[in-house]
């Protein structure tokens, strides 16, 4: 019974429930009796552990409740099959409206601005420059060719729409965001084709004619997101003389080209782009330009007609500007996260291409 009383006293002492008289008496007892002192220290420690245990248990419980609550409210997505297709579909369902509006607004703006650009843009309409988007005839031919080869695959271009132009594009997020040139997207929508010839529906989520860049979003349930994006996108400027290479679709097959960075500014001193020395063809527009380490430094856009091998690429930092404006324009694009880490550094070119080619797409734009 004494022990029980002693423990009670210790507990009251530790919780500060003793009055000052009791307290000083007890403290004196501690000083004179090492056993009691030891018991106080030990019990204090134990109580502390109990308190930590309690807090931890409460927060754990609280977190479970918050999780269940948020799940119920639909703020979190969980369960279902583990495939990432599910996520894309969920995403699509969630933002269907937004994307549709964005796409149609984008489309209208695209038409409007391409009209404007036609009249006002000096660089792009300079006869000495050629945009590398493919014109209708070439694409049509390719389309027929493709149709001949794989007959059972029906095109995803709406039957009442015409194919207007074609080019290249590349992924900037595993969620299916693709960057291409604005001038590639002549019509109201686009389909993208991967290197295996599979076609996916996509919508234009952002278009910037001044920078000649656009962002597409694949919204096709058949699209299987890539695991990761092997390349990073350079924020800073590339250096003169850097070895570069590109992958694009001047034909129905992905084509590799290699060259070097020849000037830090583009046509007529345009600071938004670089001049590069590379052999490119129509259809290369929108293709990624990589440096030796496999970082994207630009987006191939135009070539100079009277000079051989002189081409221009929009600097990659403009992609960030574009993505930033997208982020601030709509919360729906929060999931657009750009890759920062390249896994291509120091590996052989063949290996680099093998890793990259899954992320480079053939873009076909259509309109009514």
């Amino acid at each position: 019974m004494d022990d029980i009383l002693l423990l009670e006293a210790i507990e009251r002492y530790l919780t500060g429930d003793m009055n000052s008289e009791e307290r000083s008496y007890f403290e004196n007892l501690r000083k004179t009796t090492p056993e009691i002192d030891q018991m106080v220290v030990e019990h204090n420690m134990f109580i502390h552990q109990m308190d930590m245990y309690t807090t931890r248990r409460n927060i754990k419980h609280g977190l479970h409740e918050v999780h269940a609550y948020l799940l119920e409210r639909g703020d979190l997505n969980e369960g279902g099959e583990l495939t990432t297709i599910g996520k894309v579909v969920q995403f699509w369902n969630k933002y269907k409206k937004v994307t549709a509006i964005a796409a149609s607004v984008g489309g209208v703006i695209a038409l409007f601005i391409s009209g404007l650009a036609f009249y006002f843009s000096s660089a792009v309409n300079d006869p000495k420059l050629e945009q590398l988007g493919k014109d209708l005839e070439v694409v049509k031919k390719n389309q027929q060719y493709q149709g001949a080869v794989i007959q059972e695959v029906t095109s995803k271009i709406p039957s009442n729409a015409r194919l207007l132009s074609g080019g290249s594009g590349f992924l900037i997020s595993t969620k299916g965001y693709i960057v291409t040139n604005a001038h590639v997207l002549k019509g109201t929508g686009a389909v993208v084709v991967n290197n295996k010839g599979e076609e996916f529906k996509s919508s234009i989520v952002h278009i910037d004619h001044e920078k000649d860049l656009a962002i597409l979003l694949i919204n096709d349930p058949e699209y299987v997101p890539v695991k990761n994006i092997p390349y990073a996108i350079r924020k800073s400027n590339a250096d003169l003389g850097e070895e570069i290479f590109t992958l694009g679709y001047p034909r129905n097959e992905v084509v590799y080209g290699m060259g070097y960075l020849s000037a830090k500014s583009g046509y007529n001193g345009d600071t938004l782009s670089y001049q590069i020395q590379i052999s490119v063809n129509p259809g290369n527009s929108g293709a990624p330009v990589f440096n030796k380490a496999g970082d994207i430094i630009g987006v191939l856009s135009t070539r100079q007609l009277q000079a051989d091998g002189v081409a221009f690429a929009v600097k990659s930092k403009n992609i960030y500007t574009l993505v930033d404006s997208l982020h601030s324009s709509d919360k729906a694009f929060e999931d657009l996260k750009m890759p920062v880490k390249s896994t291509l550094k120091g590996i052989e070119r063949k290996e680099q291409i093998r890793k990259v080619e899954d992320c480079v797409y053939y873009v076909k734009a259509y309109g009514k």
Partner: protein, 188 residues
């Protein structure tokens, strides 16, 4: 900066068990962690475990007196989860090639060491409590965790008076302490 004061308020709320703050932090960061874990060989359940563990680490950090968070909440949570998940993958032998997304990370090793120690303490106490058996477990939980007073406990458990309950509590506590300290080694 507005963002900063907002984050500070959230952390303060978290430390004070404010459910709104916990919800906000949860909602703002969970999907990021889930994506990361799912992209790296994990399941939904594992993502939830990892995330909640990071929340606990942040909570305990927020509660300490000397607390300063030198980075954004998002960055901190991401860093902790990344570290925890890589470790878990290694333990499970599922370690493949980790995929990182764009989030930056901060060093969290020290915090995690403290966190692990607390985890261990928690588990020892949990095991000790659970091996006590009833009514000891509930009696001690009532007194030490729910802070009920002896009279209320006596009534709830059906003891004829508070002294009997106290007597029983004492015996239970001695057993619990023995169980706990047999595994909990000071200075280790």
């Amino acid at each position: 900066m507005k963002g900063d004061t907002n984050e500070q308020a959230l952390l303060k709320g978290l430390a004070n068990n404010d459910s709104k703050a916990i919800e906000t932090i949860y909602k703002d960061n969970f999907n990021m962690v889930q994506t990361y874990v799912l992209n790296n060989n994990g399941s939904y359940d594992e993502a939830r475990d990892i995330f909640q563990e990071a929340m606990i680490a942040l909570y305990e950090k927020a509660q300490s007196e000397s607390f300063v968070l030198t980075c954004q909440i998002k960055t901190y949570i991401y860093s902790v989860c990344r570290r925890l998940w890589l470790k878990r993958l290694q333990q499970l032998g599922r370690y493949a090639h980790p995929v990182d997304s764009m989030e930056e990370t901060v060093a969290v090793e020290e915090d995690l060491e403290i966190h692990e120690k607390r985890n261990a303490d928690f588990n020892i106490m949990d095991r000790a409590l659970n091996s006590l058996g009833e009514p000891c477990k509930s009696l001690l939980e009532g007194y030490y965790l729910k802070k009920m007073d002896m009279n209320a406990l006596a009534a709830e458990f059906g003891y004829t008076n508070a002294d009997n309950a106290k007597n029983q509590k004492y015996k239970c506590l001695m057993r619990l302490k023995k169980l706990f300290f047999s595994q909990y080694n000071i200075g280790e």
